[in-house]
């Protein structure tokens, strides 16, 4: 039972353009969502998060949008840079799960110069 899904295994964009990474979830108890970035041979690093009481959170070039009714969130990166090339994981947690996270499968983003 995959409660958090990232349906696109990979995404390729040109430098300077927008990257949009998508994530869907099924558990309506999830109330906090996070995006992590992972480079090869490294652990994931926290990128940005959003609470279920918001529909948008912005941090520099990164913006996360949450559509609760659709159980969908997306990460926008504008403008994309070659250094953004990495695997991006969507994760979710609920109040009942404490700080335990449920992860999606990840999306490999490649930003071409």
């Amino acid at each position: 039972d995959q409660q958090v899904k990232q349906n696109s295994p990979s995404l390729s964009v040109q430098e300077g353009r927008i990257s949009i990474l998508n994530c869907d979830y099924t558990n309506s108890m999830f109330d906090y969502f996070l995006w992590y970035k992972k480079y090869p041979a490294e652990g994931p690093t926290f990128l940005i998060s959003i609470s279920s009481i918001k529909d948008k959170n912005e941090d520099g070039r990164f913006t996360v949008f949450l559509n609760k009714s659709a159980k969908h969130l997306s990460l926008h990166i504008v403008p994309s840079q070659p250094g953004d090339s990495a695997v991006y994981f969507c994760a979710a947690q609920s109040e009942t799960s404490g700080s335990r996270l449920t992860f999606g499968e990840g999306t490999q983003l490649t930003v071409n110069p």
């Binding site: 996070l34 041979a41 652990g43 994931p44 690093t45 926290f46 404490g98 335990r100 999606g104 499968e105």
Partner: protein, 112 residues
């Protein structure tokens, strides 16, 4: 601050062997976690701990054991290694108020 450190970085085990994956954090975090990542999959929680002496199972605990005798250390024990345990293992820590988590660099384990 070294953050979260994991040893070893790589290991090859034969079926039936045992080993301990080490994890140490120097941020005085109460919460610590072990995840595994299989190819093309997200991270799955194996075990977690909310403080010294307290551990609990995650999604995929079978074949593993943990202990937490100090705040800093959270070793993961594999008994009777099986090919299905071939994976990359990540340790993470966080504070109760900080859900973001800090991850170690991972241990790549192959069981042949």
């Amino acid at each position: 601050n070294a953050g979260v450190t994991q040893t070893p970085k790589f290991r090859i085990l034969k079926i039936g062997q045992s080993m301990t994956l080490q994890c140490t954090q120097d941020m005085n975090h109460n919460y610590m976690y072990w995840y595994r990542q299989d190819p093309g999959m997200g991270l799955k929680l194996i075990y977690y701990s909310v403080g010294a002496g307290i551990t609990d199972k995650g999604e995929v605990p079978n074949g593993y054991n943990v202990s937490r005798s100090t705040t800093e250390d959270f070793p993961l024990r594999l008994e009777l290694a099986a090919p299905s345990q071939t994976s990359v293992y990540f340790c993470a820590s966080t504070t109760p108020k900080g859900p973001s988590g800090f991850f170690g660099p991972g241990t790549r384990l192959t069981v042949l």
